[in-house]
Amino acid sequence: MANTKAHGDNYINFEKGIWSWLTTVDHKRIGLMYFITVMFFFLIGGIMALLLRLELFAPNAAPNVGQILANGDVYNQVMTYHGAIMVFMVIVPGIPAILGNFFLPLQIGAKDVAFPRINLLSWYCFMAGAILAIATFFTTKIDTGWTFYTPYSIRTGTATAMMVLAAFIMGMSSILTGLNFIVTVHKLRAPGMTMHRMPLFIWSLYATAILQMLATPVLGITLLLLAVERFLGIGIFDPKLGGDPVLFQHFFWFYSHPAVYIMIIPAMGIISELITTFSKKVIFGYTAIAYSSLGIAAVSFFVWGHHMFVSGQSETTGIVFSFLTMLVGVPTAIKMFNWVATFYKGSVEFRSPMLYALGFMFLFAIGGVTGVMLATLPIDVHFHDTYFVVAHFHYVMVGGTLMALMGGYYYWFPKMFGKMYNETTARISFVFIFIGFNVTFFPQFILGAMGMPRRYFDYIPAYENLNKISTVGSWLILIGFLVGLYTIVQGLMKGEKAPMNPWGSKTLEWQTSSPPPHDNFSVEPVVTAGPYEYR
């Protein structure tokens, strides 16, 4: 066609101007827009985290350094924003919306997702929700914690209703993304790309999409009911009016437990890609890994009660949930063992994406094992609402999801931007993040075991040393991310031109130019073999 000449040869320069980005329906551009926004929110959430750790550097009684934030109320607010931003605006959308959007069509040999306009709509939903969430900061703020537990969330004078509406809107964005992915996987695979030839990242996105679709509507209605409760005082969740606050917890965790797998399953998918690529070896147990994603997704709907062992649910319920929760460990362990087995006789190359994969395995193992500990009912009665839980979920969410996200960025950086990043600074960044992470969060296991409660802005002097170590760790993480940011910016500005397939990967996204053209492939690929036919 005549006007194709005016277009550049890849998706970035295909059209020009900010408007062409804001109205784009190209999945790659939408992925990049998510990239920019999510990174921005990560920055805000990160600043909040540093503030929290700064406050906890010393007990309030300590002279000079005791109290950084004005008072406990401010601490609660910072804690709530940190949690809500990191969960709803960073870790949940992170991998599917950024890397999933970008690479799902590429990896299955499609031109786009099934519903490109809905894809754009989901970004706008996300932005609307996110802006509303940030806007609460300029009203009465929020202080409920990211879990919005009733009855406090009904009675507090802060902008809870606005915040839960924001989360509701972001939930719609998540549902739309999930829906799009499921249909794309079912309907748009290239010729020869059978389900069992799909890369494992796709399997993980597929399992995640199912969770997003099935769990998020329940969260949506729960949050809506909470907002209605605040406006109308119906008495659904408010015990004073005859309601049941524990029902809120059931509804909330019915979503939020599967949501933790929305966070981790795509991360596991990235790890599968990294490990086989940098071992130059076909992945061990492809089918087992693929189906264990679905297994985790299925089991995750029946374990929510493990967040409620001390909520007053019946003892029998507690025991059943305890056993069911331990079941999640099985498909999780299947993945772990298969990854380890892949190294065997592989030629392992310690590029930074691979470092992140190894970091992931190490940290996620600790997070998973402590998860099974918490699933043990009598132990959890002791550890519930202590720093032990805080350490557990940071090991899985940061040590797991965030590590995988970083590894994924470096791995796919050449493809997304057509530039190489600096391997040395990327490795330095990893070392700081990895060590800093352990310095920050390992002491929290001990603090929790010693009985330090979570969500408090002060503590007794006995906890001081470990808290100091933890705060210093948070500075190491900061340095790590700053070096990482430098690496990305430097790569974008000055990086060498990336070849089509710098790592020698076998999956389809590497068989097109870097960065890919507007339509992904100049010739539609025809698939004749599995995704990891190294040897």
Binding site: L179, K187, L232, G233
Partner: protein
């Protein structure tokens, strides 16, 4: 992109560039709509669970609440919606047979039925407000009497459930009107009707939810 917009080959004007064939586009659209419907059902499902729990906890209150609703109005509305589901369905088969005029008529009837439903709902709400039967803490205890002071919870459910459903009816009416305009413009024909089918499915689900709401709120007591 030389095959775009050419008559021969499967790629015709209404097939988006990332689909290869009209069938692929049709079956993708259809699956997308079904999945979306699933999320709607899950969302309402959660309120139904809440309803069941509180009905179980306070059966007397729910019986009293239900008895203050006018089941006749609810029944008329049920008939109206069932009829509108029928007109929606035939509009699609008219489009498939390229009988656009009849399709437009059927779609217009569907929108009209939606409007009738909303008007009846309006009068019902009006009546409840008049009796002081507001949701939650707004219940007018002076009007309903102190012995009925707990009705706020029942009416909380009533307004949330019917309100959320009403919003869906309005949305559906908007979508059907949009289909109607596009049918008049000639966008839909025997080769391409997936949009109308999708909207139709949405409308059927909205009706289906009402068919559950009606006995739960008006009859079970």
């Amino acid at each position: 992109m030389s095959t775009d917009n050419t008559v021969h080959g499967a790629h015709t004007a209404h097939v988006a560039h990332h689909f290869k064939t009209a069938e692929q586009q049709y079956s993708s659209g259809k699956e997308g709509i079904w999945l979306f419907m699933l999320t709607e059902i899950l969302m309402f499902g959660a309120i139904f669970v809440g309803y069941a729990i509180y009905h179980n906890m306070y059966p007397a209150m729910f019986a009293e609440g239900a008895s203050s609703l006018d089941w006749k109005m609810g029944f008329v509305n049920t008939l109206v919606l069932i009829f509108s589901s029928f007109t929606m369905a035939i509009s699609i088969s008219f489009i498939q047979k390229n009988e656009q005029k009849k399709a437009v008529l059927a779609l217009a009837t569907t929108v009209l039925c939606g409007a009738i439903f909303m008007v009846i709902k309006y009068f019902e709400y009006q009546h409840k407000f008049h009796l002081g039967l507001f949701p939650g803490k707004f219940l007018d205890v002076a009007k309903v009497g102190a012995e009925h002071a707990n009705l706020g919870l029942y009416f909380g459910f009533y307004y949330v459930m019917t309100g959320l459903h009403g919003i869906h009816v309005l949305l559906g009416m908007g979508l059907i009107t949009w289909c109607l305009i596009r049918t008049i413009r000639g966008d839909f024909h025997s080769q391409y009707w997936i949009v109308v089918e999708g909207v139709g499915l949405f409308w059927h689900i909205v009706d289906l939810i009402w068919i559950f709401l009606f006995p739960l709120l008006y009859l079970v007591g």
